[in-house]
Amino acid sequence: MIRLEPRPTASTAMIYIAPAAAILLSMAAGMGLFWALGEDPVRGIGMVFIEPLTDWFYISEISVKGTPLLLIAIGLSFGFRAGIWNIGAEGQFTVGALAGGATALALYDMEGLWVLPLMALASIAAGMAWAAIPAFLRTRLNTNEILVTLMLTYVATHILSILVHGPLKDPTGFNFPESRLFHDAATVPVLFEGARAHVGLLAAFLVVAVAWLTLRYHVFGFQMKVTGQAPRAARFAGFVQPRAVWACLLISGGLAGFAGMLEAAGPVGQLVPAIPVGYGFTAIIVAFLGRLQPLGILFASFVMALTYIGGEAAQIDMNLPNAITGVFQGMFLFLLLGIDVLTRYRVRRIPRRPAPSAALRGA
């Protein structure tokens, strides 16, 4: 009989091995999947994970996909450390895109270097405001922030839809539900001519650095850690739980909102109902795959962006179904959580005890 026993302390090595193992196992499982589909497994896995890295076009696109994932996941990681579960970053992303985009439209055709920063501020404020709702409800009424943040996502999507069908609709667009294209001063500049990688990537790197410093040197990072791991100890130490709830939700909401603005004013260039494409949810996987560590998240968001781009490439070059991307992302999380069990528990073989096992066999 095999039993799982809690380890006295979590295995340090496993903490770092688990994500890498999850990725490698997913690739192995993916090869099995390609084989079952009648495709060449080596070619398939190469198409998804290697091919995109050999071409500057793909690398630029990986950064386009990775930037919002990185920003959102960094924001979420603070709360996840403290056991505050913001599942609705997608909604905060959407209101951020909306606020930033509405600002751009209100300032239509105005030139000036102040336009983009103003849009950024509007989007951060909007994301924070959206996340403040669950923070208020949790601290005052003790509601479950998982449900509230998640449900507010759908509200945000509908508000975006209502506004692009109505007040923000392109006046010359034949009633089609989309805003006009933002003017140049309200468009996020690209890093290289002809590619879509934009300066948002640099902002995201900056956020990673700040997060790393905060977790390492600032008392807030320590507080988050303790609040998550030992709530009672945190209370005795004088860390105020409501304040942590507010801080975590506002940080994650603000960063998600900012990511939304970068998306709307970057690769999209206008407001359309399809701006939210699931970054807020994928970022949850990214945060865990990155072990809630800023540098880990940097790596994880890159891997996750790679599966999007690689999955698309496989679809175009090998006519594989679009579900490939989702399958890989799902496997990452599933296998990571599975392997994680082994970081906290160890496997023990236990000699059979005759009576209960006989009874079990009979059952």
Partner: protein
């Protein structure tokens, strides 16, 4: 099985092509971008059927690629660009939301030809095409007006864009012309493809008394609900009879094949030009599936007559006198709507209840 064989063929072709430009071996590469899954049995499905027709027509002179379930957001531009970069000569982007991304990529790849469905922005290498689905709506509107016993027709609508509003108006005017008491109930589901939402809307409409359903969404979910509840429905984009053998009265069937074949041919011949095509029943872009045996002979005859008249050019779906919903006049007696009016239609005609979502 067909899909499997195709995949193998595509794999072989892709392998053969690696390392060389597409035209080196004389093949014309054609790419298709779909908003839904090819298995939606509606809009994207029919585009894909027409893609297969292109392959059947030109055999090994052509190579086609498709990308399905492309969101109308930031990913569209990359997908289109990838197709352009990988040596495609002609690229069809088949949903309205691909308009701006297609235009952007078209500017970057002046030698590649682009075709965008249902949009209004063109460029020297970007053509647009759409179908006069409203002609089909007139036919099903007539049938619905005759077949409803509760005088209530349920309509599942996607987005309040001109194409959809036009469909509602055309169907209502036709139904009203044969049944003055008919009422239309419209539910907006804000999606092109979401079987769950579409089914919920169908159930809600039936609960509100509708006994005939129409839809401007892409899945056969409403047809299945109609079959279960024993009422009638019209298929959308594709013949949906197998989802509602008793329920389906007929379907509006999109048939892009003749257009796609002609455009691919034009690229091969070097005669391709940026055009704006808007074809209806007569050129065959809009088809009407076989009429159900449940229809009485006089209703069948009425529908057939309408089809014949539309083909002959003696019947236009929007022929005055027609007032707008608020009672203000739109078309004078005998006047027909201009294409410009139709392309930008953003109002209900008189008699349709409810307000257009803003």
């Amino acid at each position: 099985m067909q899909r499997k064989a195709l995949k193998l063929a595509a794999l072989g072709l892709a392998a053969a092509l690696i390392g060389g430009p597409a035209l080196a071996d004389g093949k014309t590469k054609v790419g298709f971008v779909y908003v839904g899954p090819v298995g939606d049995h509606g809009w994207s499905y029919e585009h894909d059927q027409s893609r297969l027709a292109v392959e059947a027509e030109f055999g090994d002179k052509v190579e086609t690629t498709y990308v399905e379930k492309v969101s109308e957001g930031p990913d569209a531009e990359r997908v289109i660009q990838q197709l352009a970069r990988s040596g495609h000569d002609l690229i069809f982007t088949t949903s309205f939301g691909f308009m701006n991304p297609t235009l952007k990529v078209a500017k970057q790849f002046p030698k590649v030809k682009f075709e965008h469905a249902t949009g209004f922005k063109r460029a020297p290498n970007l053509a647009t095409y759409s179908a006069r689905f409203y002609e089909g709506r007139t036919v099903i509107g007539l049938i619905a007006g005759k077949m409803t016993k509760t005088n209530t027709v349920g309509y599942i609508a996607s987005f309040p864009i001109p194409e959809v509003v036009r469909g509602i108006n055309a169907a209502y005017l036709a139904a009203k012309s044969v049944n003055p008491d008919v009422k239309f109930k419209v539910i907006w589901v804000s999606t092109w493809f979401d079987p769950g939402k579409e089914a919920d809307a169908a159930k809600a409409l039936i609960d509100q008394g509708a006994d005939v359903l129409m839809q401007h969404t892409d899945s056969p979910a409403a047809m299945q609900v109609a079959e279960e509840r024993g009422i009638y429905a019209f298929g959308q984009a594709s013949d949906m009879k197998r989802f509602g053998p008793n329920a389906q009265l007929t379907s509006i069937v999109d048939n892009w094949a003749p257009y796609y074949i002609a455009r691919v041919k034009a690229v091969m011949d070097g005669t391709w030009e940026s055009t704006d095509t808007w074809d209806g029943i007569k050129p065959g872009m809009v088809g009407i599936a076989p009429l159900s045996d449940k229809l009485p002979a006089d209703v069948k005859a009425l529908a057939q007559q309408a089809i014949d008249d539309i083909v002959a050019g003696t019947r236009h779906s929007f022929t005055g006198p027609i007032n707008k919903q608020d009672g203000s006049p739109w078309l004078k007696a005998g006047e027909t709507a201009s294409d410009g009016d139709l392309a930008s239609m953003n109002f209900y005609v008189e008699g349709v209840e409810g307000a257009l979502p803003k």
